[in-house]
Assembly symmetry: C2
Amino acid sequence: MTSTGFTSHQAAAITGASLRQLSYWRKTGLVVPSSQTKGGHARYNFTDLIALKAVRQLIVSGASLQRIRQNISSLLRFLPTLKQPLSEMSLVATGDLVLVFHQGSAFEALTGQQWIFEVAQLEREAAKIIDKNPEPYQEVLNFDDEAGSSSNGLAQVGGWH
Amino acid sequence: MTSTGFTSHQAAAITGASLRQLSYWRKTGLVVPSSQTKGGHARYNFTDLIALKAVRQLIVSGASLQRIRQNISSLLRFLPTLKQPLSEMSLVATGDLVLVFHQGSAFEALTGQQWIFEVAQLEREAAKIIDKNPEPYQEVLNFDDEAGSSSNGLAQVGGWH
DNA sequence: ATCTGACAAGAATGCCAACTTTTGTCATTT
DNA sequence: AAATGACAAAAGTTGGCATTCTTGTCAGAT
């Protein structure tokens, strides 16, 4: 059985975390390497690296470890269950959460909750409302206004929380 | 000059906010309709609706108005400057910030800061490190491990903050 | 119809002090 | 080379209380 994986040094170099941090996160269970040598030395696999990088990025983004803890372990549980190739996945580590972008939709790493907002939705909503209550002023349907909205539709916000 | 735009009622119905909220947000400057009737009645344009929907979504996502204030006004300033059609844009309103997804990259609405993480980056980093420090254990480059990483690359976290 | 003003409940924020967590550094061990 | 242990500095959290912000509801004005 060859012991594959990244050493602490390598993981630190790749993810930008310090060895001390890796050690502490290991000890406190935030990110535990998926395997280790017979002598007890850490060996991180690539999924571990993803978690480490996410933690590192969250810290850089201003989150505290205690907040991060809520996300990362569930992210690690979340990743292996993904059917689609991870290559099409992006992680966005913001203030204090991790968003997983995958195949055109977004999930919140903590809950797996869907988070993306379909582009056409706000526009459709607007059109629907206008149909029901035709207003005295007529040009309401003309979205090509001074705000820069081009004719082919706009941004949209929506979703279900 | 025809007064185009959405009335308060319409804007409320489309975005899900209450009339009282629209009123308060108007009064406090969070989202001010871009025009109004001679009688002083609000007329929201589509860009305003985007902002309203974003605010609404942030509230639903658990953010407080006071946090939201930091984002929305800059979002409104941000939108009209976009050269690309807004149709290709998505907004993700998370905990307390707005991410603008546009043409494969992400911006934080407040600062316009780039936020997306290129897919190949973590993998490239890993390969680079391995090249420099060839390890005793050899299979480190084999990312097809039990964690579900498929052969065509993995997730990635990165970016510049 | 839509806005404004006024009252009140509920939520969020700021501040401060005690406490806990996180990280660096360095010495020691395996 | 890598992990562990110990000490200390820096940063983050908690709880309580006063203050401020948000929102609903309702009455009145345009």
